[in-house]
Symmetry: D2
Subunit: 312 residues, 4 copies
């Protein structure tokens, strides 16, 4: 990644939570921002150089793409996560000016957003019919077309703010008020983000098929070096059911000796292990490091062994 | 679950891969089958007794619902998985009679299906525009309406077979020809499916927050009894980011002593552990059991300890 | 073991540290006490009913017998440890009346006691020659014979106190002033000592030869139930070098659910595992028990599994 | 250690099994051989330069010194094991010429040898009385003195062969005919013995007191790198009861990457870990090394991590 990317892509269209995530990146406001129609398209723009980095959802998203992102980044030409961003998930109900809640019969939004607002809809607009939208933003923008088959849309606050043609009929209509979701900024391999002391490292580890207990061996590489995991998911490789890889987030930066050592252990067990990046945690929470897994402990241990080997 | 459920629900609408999965259940053909608009709705019909069981996607689905299913079944009133079903994922391109491939400008389908057919579409209908559909079947059925804004749909073969008003323009257009996906049949708690010797047990384990290394402790409950895991996923609880539960598929049936013992271990570590069912594997592959984790070894060990405690 | 053993044996002769250990047993003062010439002889007296219990050294002894005890109790007819006793190791130098330190040329004691007083002897009686004794007490008593080939003996304070014919020339001459050693009281199998809350359980576990990683599996049975180990020793079985058994002391009583469960796990892995007893710790230090390994957690987990199995 | 030590010491006196072990060292026949009165004395001769190397018992010995050796080598100025030797344990009964078995009333030998010949003595010389000897050889040689208080001795065959004044009355009188015991040759730190492919590494690891589960952590350092253990013993440190160190023999040489890495892990957990040597196994049995713990796997993993750190 160049020091200052000038072209960003993101899971579009404009007005989604993903764009809201991108806007948290310091220089994104003044950069070129290109919406992509799906996660693969966004990542491919980075791979082929059309964009410097892509913002895509990685967890719990209202607009899908989570497992798609896990799978897309696990294969193909290597990419690197260089930042994570948290976005509060807050939904608004929008319609064209003059429309009242009582007038609403059909509502469009992304399927996941619909699922997260069902309780509110059932309580406030009983009997409302769902119309599929490819994203929350697309559903909202569709209202501005003359031929929309629905009366209202559920979308992110960002859309309503930017579109004078839409009226907000209700705010915070999500069933889980404190919901937050996580996005990642993905770039081509290059210089690693600097260690901040509150970092996260993401790897993809194919499960060796020829050895029972391989999963425990994989996780033990982290445990034995005191490295905590904050996410683990087994994913079928897609080749055939039964072959798996693991997508794992671990605390710490590969520049931390305990993380580097754990990754070396993973590589031995599963040589096709893929490093997806070390980057600052969005919540900036550093985890405590025991003395015996500190960089200093690793350095001292290495020196001790070297001295023995040299017969000193 | 009654011996013979008479009412099934499934993630609808009719014609989806989920209905194809349901049709593999022996008595489903003659039973009432009610499509549900989303996974939660399907599960709620089981919970409130409107249906005896629900078929929903659990892995790698083209129609989403995977993480939705994991989350929906992990909370709320308890449910039980009583069967798993594998369905080959094969896509067809359909249109109204008389439409040719060269005429197609806009294609509708579910977003996941679209992602899985992109290579074929790019190669064969370059420039085709995507129109979001709430499911593959809904996209196909929409073609029969007079006011569809698209010319073709991508859907499961089952739809085309049942709808004389649709023509199949191309078959097997998925980018991953051998794709298979997995569905589960969910019921209310009751008598367990009988042990077949090739079984799977699904549990949901909230991660205890107050103890470092808890994930390793959880997994060790399986490893120390020789129980293999075939799936593991960490999921945020939704309460706030950073709290997790694990959704785990383990080999074996709770009627196997090693599985029962592992589950007891999980319950001690995380008392809110939820048992989601023991059921026959769709692939009927039994895993070998070491002598020291056999039912006989557990029985002998239990007797040995009891004799000591009784001072014999 | 009868409620009140009336005949004790111990690693003799009279006047050793082992007899001092036996005297700590509440009813030993008034009971018959028979010295045995070696550990095997003492244990055999218990096995054949000639004695109700035997006191023998188990750790760090000045008079040997440690590995002999480990091996003797690991094989043959089953025995049970019913108590452990700690004895401070304090040495005195004794001689016949009239003999002064400057007169001493040759000193007798047990080889281990000699090793533990070498610094004092080198500093205070330089050039003194060592004469082997079969025990500290035998060396001291030998001075009373007319034909002793040595001038002084190193022994336990207990001997000097009981023998008017011996004079103490120096006290506390051991090189390690705070030394303490551990003894065990061994009986035939019978009712277990009651749980005190500060207990210890001893087992002998033959290492299964046919499975790599068996040692870790064995130790994991304790670790996974939160049971600490206070001693572990690998011992060759004596059949041929390379076959091992492990002698292990674990915190807790077999009446503690976590210990019973760990022992059942050992029995599965190594069916010839031998239970050597649960008994109160000599230091009465109880170890803290995590909530998830408490008896209550085991009971609740067992009930939970049973309810599932019964389809409730 | 110089390439060819010219002065050896051993646990004496001459004629013990330890000297028999020393005679197996290729150049020992022509070297100076100095008997030491105990293990500490032998090791101290090496430490102060009076000898180049010391042969001492390390396992299952008939003449004691095992735990003494473990403890003596664990503390004090650092020493290194450079070779291990196996010696078959075979006992003979010797007396002065003219003495017949029926004449024997009192027998002398080392206490451990006595324990190992008890069955034979009970069967063949019922009622024979035991006279303590400081070693088997000392007991035999004592017969040549005019004032011996016993009629016969149990000793190693080597003594009888070299002493024309002794007659062998019975051979192979040990109760365990296949007994073998193990000795080690100890030197000052210096160049390591070369890797043979069938090596053993010995370490002493103080148990960190401040962390529960430390023992499992220690053993896991070996297990996670596929390094088997052939011996483990917990030993009290002698400071006060309850503080322990572990004496461990592991398969492999510190020049093997998996062993070096495991030792580095030990050093981190317990910085006072002491390396006692890597040396060829007496039985020359090499253990198989899994691909993922080979030197090549370690090298490849290290390079992979380095490339990532350098942003390649």
């Amino acid at each position: 990644m160049p020091a200052t990317p000038v072209t960003y892509t993101f899971l579009g269209p404009e007005g989604t939570f993903t764009e809201a995530a991108l806007m948290q990146v310091p220089d994104a406001g003044g950069a070129t921002r290109i919406p992509a129609s799906n996660v693969n398209a966004a990542l491919d723009m980075v791979r082929d150089g059309s964009a410097d980095a892509a913002m895509v959802p990685i967890e719990n998203s209202v607009e899908g793409g989570v497992t798609a992102t896990l799978d897309a980044i696990a294969g193909g030409q290597e990419l690197r996560i260089i930042r994570e961003v948290l976005v509060p998930i807050s939904f608004v109900l929008v319609a064209r000016p003059g429309v009242r809640i009582d007038d609403i019969r059909r509502i469009s939004t992304h399927g996941h957003a619909w699922a997260q607002c069902r309780l509110w809809v059932d309580a406030n607009i009983p009997g409302a019919e769902y119309v599929a939208g490819s994203s929350t933003a697309a559903a909202a923008m569709g209202l501005l077309d003359g031929d929309a088959h629905y009366d209202a849309a559920i979308c992110a606050p960002i859309v309503a703010q930017e579109q004078p043609g839409l009226t907000v009929l209700a705010e915070n209509i999500g069933d889980n008020p404190g919901a937050v979701t996580r996005f990642i900024l993905v770039s081509r391999p290059g210089a690693l983000p600097e260690r901040t002391g509150a970092d996260k490292t993401t790897v993809v580890v194919p499960l060796p098929e020829d050895r029972p207990g391989a999963l425990m061996e994989i996780l033990d590489q982290f445990a034995t070096r005191g490295v905590n995991l904050s996410r683990i998911e087994s994913r079928p490789t897609g080749q055939y059911l039964g072959h798996y890889f693991f997508s794992i987030d671990a605390d710490g930066h590969i520049a931390d000796a305990r993380v580097a050592d754990a990754l070396a252990g993973l590589h031995r067990i599963s040589p096709a292990t893929r490093f997806l990046g070390s980057y600052g945690r969005a919540d900036a929470q550093s985890s405590s490091v025991a003395q015996h897994t500190s960089d200093e402990a690793f350095r001292a241990a290495h020196e001790w062994v070297e001295q023995i080997l040299q017969g000193e």
